[in-house]
């Protein structure tokens, strides 16, 4: 009896794991095969021309570049905020300080807040500041979304910085600020992983940019112009009744998926390097 029960459950466990792996491959297969059939060089290198949304020629270069500009801006903004915060709670405050733990708790909660709430809040903030839907609005909102991700993942590696290193720097007479500069240099692989994770999350998120970044057929040339983004390009074109336009949504989905795959594998590569060097 005991043996049979164990066998049944082990079978179920293997089946469950198998199903999960199969789902991933099925998703990738559907997106890639559907996307490849409508993929073209023009999609990558042209902006939409007249009649694009009726199925005429053009590409989604506007959305690709828009997404890149947007993510570049928000990653920079969130680095400027999250790296100092992580350094502060790890290296200036005492170990196990109540304030640091409260901060970690707050970041864990912020991490769980859905992107649509950030989107709504970002929009509110923009009205308050008098900014229209623009690259800048999108950058601020996406930064709000990825700051918790970045903080949590840098915080995780910061715990492994050898105490000896900190003590050695300080015994040489360095100030805390100078010590932190040394630590940051040590943390570069960890920070890189954190950046890749945040880029992956930020570049694919549609709900944050839906109201804040706007949408345009041209390539933005200033922070105050609206910017098209890949997830929205997929979303809008898929809801079109015209088949050619829908096909472009599949091609755009393929582009986004390839970007995510590259980011995910490079993040893995950097974090494996990190665990090897035992930092």
């Amino acid at each position: 009896m005991r043996k049979i029960e164990e066998k049944i459950f082990k079978g179920l466990m293997i089946a469950a794991s198998g199903i999960i792996v199969a789902i991933l491959f099925y998703i990738l297969f559907v997106i890639i095969s559907r996307g490849l059939s409508s993929m073209s060089w023009e999609m990558l290198t042209h902006i939409p021309s007249g009649g694009f949304y009726l199925g005429k020629e053009g590409g989604i270069l506007n959305a690709i570049l828009g997404s890149l500009f947007l993510i570049l801006g928000s990653v920079l903004l969130s680095m400027v905020i999250s790296i100092p915060v992580v350094m502060y709670i790890n290296f200036i405050l005492r170990k196990n300080s109540r304030f640091a733990n409260t901060a970690r708790f707050a970041f864990d909660i912020l991490f769980g807040i859905p992107s649509i709430v950030y989107g709504a809040f970002g929009f509110m903030l923009m009205i308050f500041l008098g900014i229209n839907a623009s690259l800048l609005g999108g950058i601020i909102t996406v930064a709000l979304l990825i700051i918790p991700i970045m903080m949590r993942s840098i915080d995780e590696v910061a715990a492994y910085v050898p105490r000896d290193l900190i003590e050695a720097t300080q015994s040489l007479g360095a100030t805390k600020y100078e010590t932190i500069k040394v630590i940051i240099r040590q943390l570069i692989p960890g920070i890189t992983t954190a950046i890749l994770l945040s880029v992956g999350r930020g570049i694919g998120d549609a709900a944050t940019v839906l109201f804040t970044a706007g949408y345009t057929d041209s390539i933005p040339t200033s922070l105050l112009q609206p910017a098209a983004t890949l997830p929205l390009a997929i979303f809008f074109q898929l809801s079109s009744p015209i088949e050619e336009v829908q096909n472009r949504a599949y091609a755009a989905a393929l582009i986004l998926t390839v970007i995510i795959l590259i980011l995910s594998f490079s993040a893995r590569y950097f974090s494996s390097k990190l665990s090897k060097s035992k930092l």
Partner: protein, 301 residues
Amino acid sequence: MNDKLRVRLIKNMVARHYMLCLTVFCLLIMFIIGTGLLIKSLPVLKEKGIWELLTTSNWRPFKGDFGFLSFILSTLYVTLIAILIAVPLSVLSSIYLSEYATRNVKRIFSPVVDLLSGIPPVIYGVWGTLTIVPLISEKIAPHFVDFSTGYSVLAGGVVLAIMIIPLIISILTEVFNSISRELREASLSLGATKWETVKKVILRKSLPGIIAAVVLAVSRAFGETIAVLMVCGNFTEIPQSIFDSCYPLPALIANNYGEMMSLPNYEAALMFSALLLFSIIVLFNAGSRLMLYQINRRYQL
């Protein structure tokens, strides 16, 4: 004190204060978001009262009727289906991974979980409309109801289930790992089989962790927007069966944002739904995170 030292000390002071300010600011963000949403939704709250907003289902923005019941129920149904599908799958496979799987299997599985959690919602949406929606309308629904477009509660639930699986697995793996080796070995040495150890020791010990993981997954499912928007059909009626279309709260916000400015109280009503999501999710997250901290602390000692 020479000048060089003074400069270094000043730099140190400035950096310290900059870091402190940023940390405090980040702690305040949550309150700023909450207060902002509350202030913006006050007009509609004052006019209708929270009870009427939550328990009526008349949604006629042009007449000033804002009843959220059908959206709230849609969200609950979709989430319930997602949890029913995702929890058994993820619990079974995380037990397998932490107790049975060889190192090689783990090595294959961990990038799979990473990738599943990395795929953007909009891609899940595309996949859902290409596969799940036609599957439901052509193969599954005809056995049960006369007609279904496939854009339905069930489609939303299935897509959401896949989206929350990686979250549950990653938390559960941590929870199972936190159970000490001695406990397992004690059970095995008393003659229990591996499965009995799993069932009577590991699952029982990690029950709080499993609950915390499920609560986190529920709150993730509550807030998911674009994927759900793309496969649920967005129809403002209380769904009668899982093959009916539905209209979860986040989809409501996303769909109506642009046009909301002209109607009185419309913006306030949408902000109220954001506030609703925000408060429930913050509450759920706070509860389950505290639970997970406790688990970690107990086993680290």
